[in-house]
Symmetry: C2
Subunit: 181 residues, 2 copies
DNA sequence: GTAGTCATGTAAGACGTTACATGATTCT
DNA sequence: AGAATCATGTAACGTCTTACATGACTAC
């Protein structure tokens, strides 16, 4: 389970409640999970049972009690071990690519429509990601960390920028192919 | 279920057996599923029940019977409808990015090791993808399709190339950050 | 009064992977 | 002798999402 370590990593930075984590995970592009309650609250229970996090219940006047989790020394050890473990290759999952593969079943204008709609979605998605990054210009605990965090942020937007460029080039090329027929 | 349509798309190209599909899906980068038996054989059963594919049993001398599936007119209709439907945004899932976010817990040489190992994995992965593309230089049924198929193939390798470049730039930058301290 | 935020949690189901099971042939 | 290929399928399990459930406060 990698969400286990994703949460552990966040708690190594600051203590958070399940509710906080849910927000972070559902709003950040690098955390590719939906950020649903079930997964987060169950994972926190698991982490607590493993002794990797400790829980502090904070009662509130008119609101439900907050359960704030902090990383423990053994949790930190587990996180370190994971950080040093063999990294996984990234996965680029594009259902659009699968659609494109069978685009021969579409006529020229249908394909154009598909590309246009996709392009618009990408551009909207890019704006959302750019706003997400602007909202939190995170300063790290060291120049090295600040650099890495900026590099991560830039990566999430460059994936979209590259995809937009790729589609735009495709539209140009398709026009040329049609003219040469 | 998108694997349903992924299989339907392949069958719109040529008839295939479950065994054939398993191979294609597990070896191709754009089909991001593992290509396990369970999923494929169950999906084919489903597609057959829906009347989207037809089955032809081919008995063989010393080998188990092959069940070859072909797309039906209603399957083709369903596929067309799917092709024209709203495309999903691509997902870039990188566990490495989550690791990098907490790399502050590693010292300089540990981070260097992580980057080096990751880079090596990426380079190995790139070679595998390049070989995959070289194995089948697919010619489409039209210049348009040939172009699209090449564009898809190039995309699967450019994702890796971009990632390699990104990591290499990071190594250079990290060296500079250390020297300026 | 309707929707959103804060805050927890559970139930049901969809989706995906690993591993098991069979059995003959062919390659090293 | 052992492993790989061809070819089907099932069982068990892990992961992930959607939807349900509660309840007070706040903003429009």
């Amino acid at each position: 389970m990698t969400i286990e370590y994703a949460i552990l990593g966040l708690l190594s930075w600051k203590p958070f409640s399940g509710y906080d984590l849910k927000k972070i995970i559902s709003e950040s592009a690098i955390y590719y999970w939906s950020g649903n309650n079930n997964q987060i609250y169950k994972t926190l229970l698991q982490l607590h049972q493993d002794g990797w996090v400790s829980q502090q219940v904070i009662n509130q006047q008119f609101l439900p009690a907050r359960k704030v989790y902090s990383i423990t020394p053994s949790g930190n050890e587990a996180l370190q071990k994971w950080l040093k473990s063999l990294p996984d290759l990234p996965e680029f999952r594009s259902v659009f690519l699968i659609k494109l593969e069978w685009a021969e079943l579409l006529n020229d204008s249908e394909l154009d429509d598909l590309l246009e709609v996709y392009l618009q979605e990408l551009k909207d998605g890019l704006v959302i990601r750019q706003e997400e990054n602007r909202r939190e210009i995170k300063t790290g605990r060291s120049p090295r960390e600040t650099y890495l965090w900026q590099k991560i942020a830039k990566k999430t937007i460059s994936v979209f920028e590259d995809e937009i460029e790729w589609v735009e080039q495709m539209r140009i090329d398709l026009k040329t192919i049609r003219e040469n027929q």
